[in-house]
Amino acid sequence: MATQTKDKKQAAKDVVDILEEIATLLNCNLTRHQISLCISLIENGVNPEALANVIKDLRAQYPEPELVEDEEQG
């Protein structure tokens, strides 16, 4: 059981790693934490298009934290 949990955790970590790399390649400007939150929201039934629009709106209203994100990614 513990091994399975561990494997599951490792698999989830791998998925997040790969998604983070894909997000970087596609220049989505999302941190690892934000990606995790988005995954959790989508798994809780949030529509990805809606989520994408909300994120874009928030970025438009509050651009500064975005710069911090860039620095963290960089």
Partner: protein, 882 residues
């Protein structure tokens, strides 16, 4: 519910991450944004994500990267997508769709290095014991045995070095050497002292310990103490070097040394030992007093150099004492141990130090830096007189060392004209307030005097202070004249002022007193500085600054060097005066006149001439009015340092006197052509006129030739021969004073001057009388009433005229005839000196009488002065006037 709260919580976190808002920071906005987001998630209706569409889009993106020459991105994306495939869940397409929505121009902005930054660097693998043991297992023999630290001793010093070499060899990677003795022995690095040596020293110190511990208990002798003479000698030598010892007590602050009375030598009596030790203690005390003085802090450079010299002597003394000690330490030599010999040697060695100690005692009473030099000088002279060559040499060397420090500001002054503003020792000081260049030489620098009014310099240098002072001022003057320094390359090499060159140079140097040899050497030193600078300045003054030109100009303007020009000026002035011109003394007209007359004279710079007139209440016909005309001729500042401002009034006075004499001569000359009526006493008149002419001519000749001519030639000669600016200024000053005295313009000659002026006024009056008479005779055919009126007015004016020669105002005359200087009608006929009244012959007689009186007075007075004074010119003038 849980689902909503989960979404709400997740949305809150996402909002906080994206916007930076939080419950602690702008909670209302955070709450609003979060609720807006949650509402957006719930309310907005979107179509379900088509996973095939997503994959198609992703493939399209990869293809697009490939087409647009970003194969690296295409490969990386493709790889990640393939990696994701086995791990994908049912939400993977949604997530990929989200990423595709949020993608922002990856072609332009993405680089592969961004991927590297995602992963932290892998740390290098840590070294573990397993790794070490894997490579190098500790299975050799003897590795785990105990180490014997005492194996290698300090006595085997050679082996110590050998072991070190072996260790060094073992540090290198072994090739074929056996792997024994890998671990270094600590024993090799430790040195164990030999206990026997320490035991020997302890045994030797025992008597001293007993001495120091029992000295308070036993007031008398301490027998069987075992102190040998060698021990006492050693202790003495230590004491003389200022070190604490057991036989002598040393007070560290004052340096006073006291011997322990309980010390006794086995071979001599305690009394004699005590005397000897007391003497040595006294010597040590005095040397230590000098050591203490040498450690004091002083701020004056002179005292510091003296201290340094003392320190060197003390070191030399210490070295000599060490040399004595060395002969006892030499095992091979056989030195005789004698405390008496040590005492004698020490006294001889310490003699110069004792002299210095006495000097420092005298110095300490009042710390005046120059006193140190003066005391040294006196002691050196004393040492020479008392025939103590060693002390003489020692003190001489110290004296010259300190003198070099004292000479530094003097050297700086004499070579560069530079004074340090904070220097209070040097005897020249600068007066910063004086910035006028014309008083640069005389007032900018002054000598510093001490409280008693004496020059602030050592007494043995006071003889040369003037030359030092002048040399420095010459340098400053030269700098102000901006003379090119390169021209002056013939500065003599400075002779060295030290003991050997001063005292040992001449063969009879020992016979001459030190004061004499020093004075000679110092004068040579001063001369070496005082050479070309002053000559250059003098040449510059004569050539470029135009000293000769200025002197010539002054002679032309003030001293009637060219009588014709002077007369031309004077005659024009007198004509205006006689023509009753109100503006005869107008300064602008006079200025123009002077410029016109002297325009052709080269030394005179007519643009600089300026004439001004002083208000004067003297009668307009009196010659005193001519003294109100003043000429201002400014001189360039270098010349103004020689021809000083306070000598210009004398020039003015001489000019006035000459003008007055010229006036009288002018009037008498005109008189010759006035024809006289037959009914007058021609003989008396002619005689008086002749006598007056003779007087005036004699006086004129005396002034121009005897006084001005000879004095000026003398002055020019002295200026040409002068060494420096000071001599030139003094020569000119003397010339001006001589002029003033010989022209009878000085204060003590004022009665004679007044008498001369009276005679000149008499001449004017006589001339006026003649002229008026001539006019009245020629106008007898004219309106006689007018003539009678005029005569009446004249008579009343004469009656009212006072006989006061000194008065400058004639109020009665002004009141009577109303024709004063300020009046409407100016009548020159009524303006005369007022001693003549009555008929013409009466007037002539009175004038003659007055003239005789004044002439005799002048002659008698001049003869008296000639007898008492040093100048022969007065006697000459008296004879000529007689």
């Amino acid at each position: 519910m849980a689902h909503t709260s989960t979404v709400s919580a997740l949305s809150g976190e996402l909002v906080a991450s994206l916007t930076g808002l939080s419950t602690s920071k702008d909670a209302a906005a955070f709450k609003r944004v979060r609720e807006g987001a949650v509402r957006a998630f719930r309310t907005q209706q979107y179509a379900r994500t088509n996973q095939f569409e997503v994959h198609k889009t992703l493939d399209g993106v990869v293809e697009k990267f490939q087409i647009l020459y970003r194969e690296d991105l295409a490969e990386a994306l493709d790889l990640r997508l393939k990696k994701l495939q086995p791990l994908s869940t049912k939400w993977t397409p949604e997530i990929l769709s989200l990423l595709l929505e949020l993608s922002d121009r990856p072609l332009e902005k993405t680089t592969l290095s961004d991927l590297d930054r995602l992963r932290p660097p892998v740390p290098p693998p840590q070294l573990t014991w397993q790794d070490i043991l894997r490579e190098d297992p500790l299975t050799e023999e003897g590795v785990w045995d105990d180490i014997d630290y005492a194996a290698h001793g300090s006595s085997d010093e050679d082996s110590f070095y050998v072991d070190e070499e072996q260790e060094a060899a073992k540090d290198t990677p072994a090739t074929s050497i056996a792997e024994d003795d890998l671990v270094a022995s600590v024993q090799q690095f430790s040195i164990v002292p030999d206990a026997t040596h320490i035991e020997k020293i302890r045994r030797a110190q025992k008597p001293f310990k007993s001495l120091s511990s029992h000295s308070e208990d036993f007031g008398g002798e301490l027998l069987s103490i075992g102190i040998t003479e060698l021990m006492v000698v050693r202790e003495t030598l230590f004491m003389l070097r200022g070190l604490p010892t057991t036989v002598f007590d040393l007070e560290s602050e004052t340096g006073i040394v006291r011997f322990k009375e309980s010390v006794a030598l086995p071979q001599s009596s305690s009394a004699s030992t005590a005397v000897l030790l007391k003497e040595l203690a006294g010597l040590g005390s005095r040397v230590n007093a000098l050591r203490v003085w040498s450690r004091e802090q002083h701020s004056v450079a002179l005292l510091q150099s003296f201290q340094d010299a003392i320190c060197r002597r003390i070191w030399a003394f210490d070295r000599s004492v060490s040399t004595i000690e060395r002969k006892f330490m030499d095992e091979k030599g056989c030195a005789v141990v004698s405390i008496i010999e040590i005492c004698t040697d020490a006294e001889i060695l310490a003699r110069p130090l004792l002299q210095l100690q006495g000097l420092t005692e005298d110095l300490s009473t009042r710390l005046y830096p120059l006193q140190c030099l003066e005391l040294l000088f006196d002691r050196v002279c004393l040492a020479q007189l008392t025939e103590d060559p060693a002390t003489f040499e020692e003190l001489g060397i110290i004296f010259f060392t300190c003198l070099q420090v004292y000479l530094r500001p003097i050297r700086g002054w004499m070579e560069d004209g530079h004074i340090d503003k904070d220097d209070r020792v040097f005897f020249v000081q600068e007066n910063q307030k004086i910035s006028d260049l014309s008083s640069l030489w005389h007032n900018r620098f002054s000598l510093r005097l001490d409280s008693s009014g004496e020059l602030h310099a050592p007494h043995f240098l006071r003889a040369s202070f003037k030359r030092i002072f002048n040399t420095g001022k010459t340098i400053v003057f030269r700098k102000s004249l901006e003379i090119d320094q390169d021209q002056d390359t013939t500065m003599l090499l400075e002779p060295s002022l030290d003991y050997h060159s001063v005292c040992k140079s001449s063969s009879d140097g020992d016979l001459l007193p030190f004061a004499e040899t020093f004075a000679t050497a110092f004068n040579e030193w001063v001369d070496s500085k005082h050479t070309v600078a002053s000559v250059t300045v003098k040449q510059q003054l004569f050539k470029d600054c135009g000293l000769s030109r200025s002197l010539d100009a002054l002679e032309f303007l003030f001293l009637s060097r060219n009588g014709a020009l002077f007369q031309a000026f004077a005659d024009t002035l007198f004509e205006k005066l006689d023509n009753r011109s109100r503006s005869w003394d107008d300064r602008f007209l006079a200025n123009d006149l002077m410029e016109a007359i002297y325009s052709g004279v080269s030394p005179v710079d007519t643009e600089n001439i300026s004439i001004r007139t002083l208000p004067n209440k003297a009668r307009i016909r009196s010659v005193r009015r001519l003294g109100t005309i003043l000429i201002d001729y400014p001189l360039p500042w270098p010349i103004a340092n020689i021809i000083r401002k306070h000598s210009m009034p004398t020039y003015q006075k001489v000019f006035a006197l000459l003008l007055q004499v010229y006036r009288a001569a002018y009037l008498l000359r005109r008189l010759a052509f006035v024809s006289l009526a037959a009914n007058h006493r021609i003989r008396t008149t002619h005689l008086l006129r002749f006598r007056m002419s003779r007087f005036v001519d004699t006086l004129q000749d005396y002034l121009t030739e005897t006084v001005i001519g000879i004095s000026t030639a003398q002055m020019r000669k002295e200026l040409a021969e002068a060494d420096d600016v000071d001599t030139m200024a003094s020569a000119h000053q003397a010339y001006v004073q001589k002029l003033e005295a010989q022209c009878l313009l000085a204060k003590n000659f004022s009665p004679f001057h007044k008498a001369i002026i009276q005679i000149l006024d008499l001449v004017v009056a006589f001339s006026d009388t003649h002229t008026s008479l001539h006019k009245s005779n020629s106008s007898q055919g004219e309106n006689s009433f007018t003539a009678r009126q005029k005569q009446r007015r004249r008579r009343s004016a004469l009656q009212a005229a006072a006989l006061h020669e000194e008065s400058d105002s004639e109020p009665d005359l002004d009141a009577e005839d109303g024709a004063s200087e300020g009046g409407d009608e100016y009548d020159a006929d009524t303006e005369h000196v007022g001693i003549l009244e009555g008929s013409f012959p009466e007037r002539v007689r009175k004038a003659s009488k007055e003239f005789d009186k004044l002439n005799h007075f002048i002659i008698a007075g001049l003869r008296q002065i000639g007898r008492t004074g040093s100048e022969a010119c007065w006697e000459m003038l008296a004879e000529r006037l007689e």
